[in-house]
Amino acid sequence: MTTPVIGDPPLLEVRDLQVEFRTREGIARAVNGANYTLHSGETLAVLGESGSGKSVTAQAIMGILDTPPGFVTGGEVLFKGDDLLKMSDEERRALRGESIAMVFQDALSSLNPVFPVGWQIAELFRIHRGMSRRDAMKEALEALERVNIPAAKDRIGDYPHQFSGGMRQRVMIAMAIALRPDLLIADEPTTALDVTVQAQILELMADLQREENMGLILITHDLGVVAEVADKVAVMYAGRIVEQASIEEMFDSPAHPYTVGLMDSIPSLEARAGELKAIKGLPPSLVALPPGCPFEPRCPLAFDLCRQVVPPPIVVGPGRESRCHIAEEVRDGKR
């Protein structure tokens, strides 16, 4: 973890981001004030279950939210100090792919099926750098080599469906890092892959991040992935970041009951069969959020205050926050 120089703006700072989906059934508040900061060379894992808003946050940062139904209704996304949300469409477009890039979950459907992979990577160089077809192809080949695709030269003309799952995800990564972006967002990059391949892909991403000193946001629901590569963690629940901590702190002393629940649900060698604990219940509907803490109905520690007041972010350590009324007691394991 690099220590930021005072006065130098962080690579990315998300402040009180609000995103809603306007649907026929009502307004679904997908993100309710997300805050996080990321510096160059840092890896932030955004952890949460499906529907917690972790992907929507990333899409809002990237500027690829489906509008309608999705709308950013408030907050700031500062990239090197400039608010992305205040930029013109053209300025944001120029940043996409060039400075901020994204890796998606399902490489098979995320790559265009009718163009060769080399062509799809070369397209970046042609659009952003105005390169000729031939030069762009040369760069595309180099990008494929950087992600260790064997015999990249022979495979540059192949179509996405001709690659194996792991190789396809490498192509996806090659495309994302082709223009050497400052920030890489990976949305569940290993979920669709076999366990053995998962490790290779994570390792590749960690290596590339180190070489390029990129900032990396890793969106996942897999605690194993988090433990392996992340520096710090933001846990999302019902559109809010309920806990932020360094990776060690989170595993050692989680300060939010939801995080505690997530930790308990990890199967371990010591735990005998039948002792696996799952968090009971389902997340609340985003259309009708409860007036109090959204986790209250599922929380084993809930009390009266939780039903009435949404917990504010409570600082529970240097750079550590938790949105729980009794965060410190939870952190210290007193409750």
């Binding site: 477009r93 996409r96 792919g97 998606f104 459907s109 995320s110 265009n112 659009i127 495309m175």
Partner: protein, 308 residues
């Protein structure tokens, strides 16, 4: 790919044989007397009947007669009509007109159909989308002969913008209205197909990737979405080419076009066996060859298709 093509061509042979035999049987095994009404009011003279029976092998058992006809087909001898005209000449003079008519119809499908579908698909739920959906629904439910006669009356006679009939030689300008009528139904289908294909592709993940790459919306839609959306459309239009030629009977009749459809219609009414079998065989061949080309084209357009 070469092996695939060869196998497909070999597979076509039994289909061609079966179809032509079916047609031949239908035409020549007619329970009615082929000479009824052929010589005016009186029954035909015995000598004429004998001559024709010999010429068309009407006395031979059906399979043998069929084989003789098939042999003739391969040597380019399509036979004669009862009045002694060469079938080959008749088809050769009518065929170009039908080809031109079908081409005009296809142009309408491509230009109007695709454009309407693209506009509708990109403006889902807006006025233009509803307009396209409604007008295509109307075109689909109005039968071609109603459309043809009505437009001929309105635009050919009431407000003479187009010529109501097509003169011999069928100049292109005279084929605009008939071409529209012939292509209208498919044009509506093409518009709807393009629309739904675009909507489906716009939702797909690769569009999000293309946007995340920093491509302008124009390029995302114009290149990435279009390239995928048009695959089913191209194959539909290709396959339609064969169907249009055979389906031109009604349009050619309404606008009095000297085409193959008109020819075969008259042949059926006059029970001109040689003519009908030849033309239908021609249609079947066109249909099969066009389908083969479309299948090969499909593999060319969509790299995911593999020929084994």
């Amino acid at each position: 790919m070469g092996a695939y093509t060869l196998r497909r061509i070999l597979q076509m042979i039994p289909v061609v044989l079966g179809t032509t035999f079916l047609i031949y049987t239908l035409v020549w095994a007619l329970p009615t007397d082929p000479f009824a009404g052929r010589c005016g009011e009186r029954p035909c003279p015995q000598a004429y009947v004998q001559l024709m029976t010999e010429k068309f092998n009407l006395d031979d058992p059906l399979p043998w007669a069929y084989l003789q006809w098939l042999g003739g087909l391969f040597t380019g001898n399509l036979g004669e009509t009862y009045t002694g005209l060469l079938v080959w000449d008749q088809v050769a003079s009518a065929f170009p007109n039908t080809l031109k008519l079908a081409t005009v119809a296809i142009m309408f499908e491509i230009v109007v159909g695709i454009t309407a579908g693209v506009f509708a698909g990109l403006n889902r739920g807006r006025f233009i989308d509803n307009l396209v959906l409604l007008s295509t629904l109307a075109l689909i439910s109005i039968p071609v002969f109603v459309l043809g006669t009505t437009l001929q009356y309105l635009l050919g006679i009431q407000f003479p913008i187009f010529s109501p009939t097509v003169p011999p030689g069928a100049p292109w300008s005279s084929l605009i209205l008939p071409g529209f009528v012939l292509g209208a139904l498919s044009m509506a289908y093409v518009a709807r197909l393009v629309r739904s294909s675009i909507l489906e592709n716009m939702r797909s993940d690769y569009v999000r990737t293309a946007t995340a790459k920093g491509l302008a919306r124009r390029r995302v839609i114009g290149l990435h979405v279009m390239r995928n959306s048009l695959i089913p459309v191209v194959t539909f239009i290709g396959a339609d080419f064969g169907a249009l030629m055979a389906g031109a009977i009604i349009t050619e009749g309404i606008f009095n076009i000297n085409g193959v459809g008109n020819l075969v219609y008259r042949g059926i009414l006059n029970q001109e066996g040689a003519l009908v079998t030849s033309v239908v065989t021609l249609f079947v061949l066109i249909f099969l060859v066009v389908n083969l080309i479309v299948d090969l084209l499909y593999g060319f357009l969509d790299p995911r298709i593999r020929y084994e």
